[in-house]
Amino acid sequence: MRKYISFRTSRFSFFLDKKGLGYFSLFFLVALIIAYLSVSLGEYIVYPSDVFQVIMGNGEKMHSFIITTLRLPRLLVALFVGIGLATSGAILQGMIRNPLASPDIIGITGGGSFAVVMFLTLFSDKSDSLSVSIHWQPVAAFLGAMIIGLLVYILAYQGGVSPIRIILIGIGLSSLTQALTTLGMILGPIYRASQANIWLTGSVYGANWDHVNIIAPVTLVLVIIALLIARRINVQELGDDLAAGVGSHLQRDRLLFLIISTALAGVAVSFAGGVGFVGLMAPHIARRLVGSSYGALIPISALIGGILVMGADLIGRTVFLPLEVPAGVFTASIGAPYFIYLLFRSKRS
């Protein structure tokens, strides 16, 4: 039996891997289930029939409010944050040819964190209130992430950039942003430090439709571009010589990969803060399931990333009621052991 399906018209032709399609359907279903649980569960439980009524557009006022105003935007932001981080990690891992690469490790997330701490510190007045609107915070985070992405590229540049230089410079910049973030929190007002701390851990608390309206289209467009250039990532994974040999524009593509993955992580970070390890774990799990071909790897990673963040937020929001635990706590508590397991495995092989 053939393991793939080909789609062809005179202008378009595509290749779909059946295994990838199978896993995609599976994770899509899982995502739907988590999405359902997320709109249903919480301090106030909305029962299935009521959820259904709300979906059909004739639910009770309170149910509609809870679902469409409170829970749904938060759920969607969590989903797109996960998709963004995972896709970003997948691209970086292919470009750097190292399964341990992720937006956290090369400092993109750290750049966002530093920018947020600086934003909260610099724009606080004597009475500890912000002198500019808090709405600028995501912008600051996004800029911080982009600046670090750019810096990684510039500092790694030596007549072109090589994967090893990107990762080393990235790790260096990441440590630097962490140090500066800590410094900023110590020197800044104490109230801001605790506010920054929640941000650093990563949380989708307080997400609303305005956030969804930005993060959803931006993330989707970037993921679609990533899918269209999946071939270019595949070919770079074979090494510089082979990639150049089959006609890849190594350096031009590398810059493109870095821009896309930085933007994806930057957008995610600006709405949810430093949700850790998703960019590392999701692509890695996906790779174990569907292999290294990016046409399948990107969508599967994206879905797993979405599931991880939605799931983490669901647990954080429901299990410790009335306390709310930031989603980042859970992604980190699965992610850190997973990272150690990866190191252990790569040491043995």
Partner: protein, 271 residues
Amino acid sequence: MNSLTTKDLILGYGEETIIDSLDIDIPEGEITVFVGGNGCGKSTLLRSMARLLKPKDGEVVLDGEAIAKLSTKEVAKQLAILPQSPVTPEGLTVLQLVKQGRYPYQSWFKQWSNEDEEAVEEALRVTNMTEFKERSVDSLSGGQRQRAWIAMTLAQDTDIILLDEPTTYLDMTYQIEILDLLFELNEREGKTIVMVLHDLNLASRYANHIVALKERGIYAQGKPEDVVTCQFVQDVFEMTCNVMTDPLFGTPMCIPHGRGRCLIQQQRQSG
């Protein structure tokens, strides 16, 4: 057919010059093998001919045009290169690998055309890899893995194939298997093959044209029968040897002197 030549080619890294003002004509439709001692620049030359290394001066000319001025995708449709011991991404299947040879023919929206599919199937068939196409490359034996890589370069559908030490790290059986495959490709499909080989005896048997490099240039080139002599081996490899005739195919065969078992013979004589 595509001709591949170099003009006044100067290659090197940093200050060091490895190849100096080299002119070479690769015979079309034949197998050319570069030989020479370690560090003589044979791999460097091969890489530069595949535009992977920028020359310090001079140029590589493909079909009358400087390779540096051609678009890299255009070059990739005429010339394929298999570097030495390439990396395999974890879990990549043979089919996924071979498909990537079609890279220069694809675009944003044309990712898997009929021609792509036919070329990939043909490449798998010729290399006897069809039955392994769903296996992951890292689970294959050394010889199968090398055949998978060669299938990828074949999928590129080029007239010229360059290979950098395609037999290194392979058992003797696989070395012969790979060289037989390349010989067949040359005979049946008229592909121009250029490769670097370490083993002078295998080079003599499989090459139509041997190019020996020494001291930043060509020491000698021509048919193995004409080129490979005791003096040749002495000069190129700095080793004394006898050159015999291969009893099977009549190509030259080098038997190194070395000290080898002399010690035992001496002991016997003195004892």
